[in-house]
Subunit: 337 residues, 2 copies
Amino acid sequence: MKKKIRAIQYGIGPIGASIVKLLREKEAITLVGAIDTDPSKVGKDLGEVVGAADAPWGIRVSGDARGVLEQSADVVMHTTSSSLPKVMDQLLACLDVGSCVVSTCEELSYPYRTYPELAEKLDKAAKDAGVALVGTGVNPGFVMDKLVVTLAAVSQRIEHAKALRIVDASKRRLPLQKKIGAGMTVEEFRAKVKEGVIKHVGLPESVAMVADSLGLPVDEIIETIEPKVATEHIKTEFLTIEAGQAAGVHQIARGLSAGKELIYMELQMYVGAKDPADTIELKGHPNISLVIPGGSQGDIATASVAVNSIPAILEAPSGLRTSRDLAIGFFSPRPLK
Amino acid sequence: MKKKIRAIQYGIGPIGASIVKLLREKEAITLVGAIDTDPSKVGKDLGEVVGAADAPWGIRVSGDARGVLEQSADVVMHTTSSSLPKVMDQLLACLDVGSCVVSTCEELSYPYRTYPELAEKLDKAAKDAGVALVGTGVNPGFVMDKLVVTLAAVSQRIEHAKALRIVDASKRRLPLQKKIGAGMTVEEFRAKVKEGVIKHVGLPESVAMVADSLGLPVDEIIETIEPKVATEHIKTEFLTIEAGQAAGVHQIARGLSAGKELIYMELQMYVGAKDPADTIELKGHPNISLVIPGGSQGDIATASVAVNSIPAILEAPSGLRTSRDLAIGFFSPRPLK
């Protein structure tokens, strides 16, 4: 019998909770520890914290990251923050004990343009430890970058790449609806954008990955964040939005070469979105497009992509990897062959 | 400056011709030789044989495979036959001189069920030589297998996988229209199916790759080939089809587990096909589907996938690889970084 893969969960927010529940379905995985600093979680059983039907699991959530990491798991599932500078010490601590890392930190998905020094530091630390790490998820990490690059395999020449993701936030959790500014006045929304509070993190990372992978010589990436304004009264399970208030974000990132647009990525994530879908369009020879009708559900898909990346990151050459380097597929619940 | 990738073209039919023209657009590639046994091609300039605008290229087509292969190219692009037993000696000769191989041999795309001994022999020969080989193309190799496995990354559980490819053969080359039986009577068509002459090769390979990659315990793969019968008079650039005659193939492969269908793959390739498209549907948690409207054009896409696989196969661990193992993307025409 093959040895099981020992995994640690680092961060037990909504995505982390979704990941550990999925990990429990994989026969090849043993969860050996869980880390979170939230006093309301520390000391409690992980299964109870995530509301699992089969709780308790016999794994206590610990606030002592070093202590848990010292078990030197095969892989750490890391879900604490979107900001790469904020999580550098956490990632280095994982690598330091010889664990591979799959992180949903959006800025880690393709950090070479925004944080080249941090990328180099992580790459070196991973190589020194003989392990690999990757930042991934559904977006960034899949629908607006990995899938674009994969679809490009059928192309001979590419002149322009476009990705459009329309997400209906109506059924999503309250923190997400708040995070996208749903129910704010347009003025409040714009103020929160200025503060950096309202923002989907990851579009410039996706633009950069696509640019480098498709050989599109992008020398500038620009991004805009506007409110999607409700045209009628909307009521969700959690909140009410009046016509004229913000219903969510309308975010656009463009990759330019001497001012000419080569890449266009648009994210509409708002309550009441019509026709949610993920769409990719490559212009070139031949033109080719792809549609995921309904779109891939954000939280479920991010947990899926992270967990499905485990076999690939364990087999990857050591160093900092990105989703484009990994032949990501599906992590079967049955034992690995 | 980085050393160029030295490539040899083995087989100069329609796909091989499309590949060499594409290779010429890549700054990172130098074509160093071409092999074909057709007396009408041997001794001629490769550029002239493939009808390139910038011919002659200064590369002569040779019938002496060993002699050409002895240059020990970095990669051999192999496009001679769909049958793995028929091309074994050719592939082994390539590996023997230490060249990686990208082949469009359909039966090489996932040979583990039909030809396990041949797969093992190739894997060993490649490992002994420290090189890698892969069988790929658009189908098998991409739309009905690699793309299915890639899409599965957003899934948590998968119960059933379906792929449907509808190709309009109206604008395709005459040999392809003939190969799919267009213009035959239904009786002729069925006789040719019995002889093994009419058949798209690769559906069982795609079913097997998807089954193993998604952890679907398929114990039997069955395949049917029926004519798609024309309901009206159709005229293409090359031939005429009367109502009641075959317009092409309608081929279905199913992966079963104790008689229960887990995988369904359907190929409709016929003259006058309505609404050509590639469609994937995964049933599970969550259900997810994907559409390539218009579908990916067969010959162009197969040449693209083969050439775009070059960077990945050169970096792959030695041995027999399949498209699911490779993080295939796009081979930029600009120099490799």
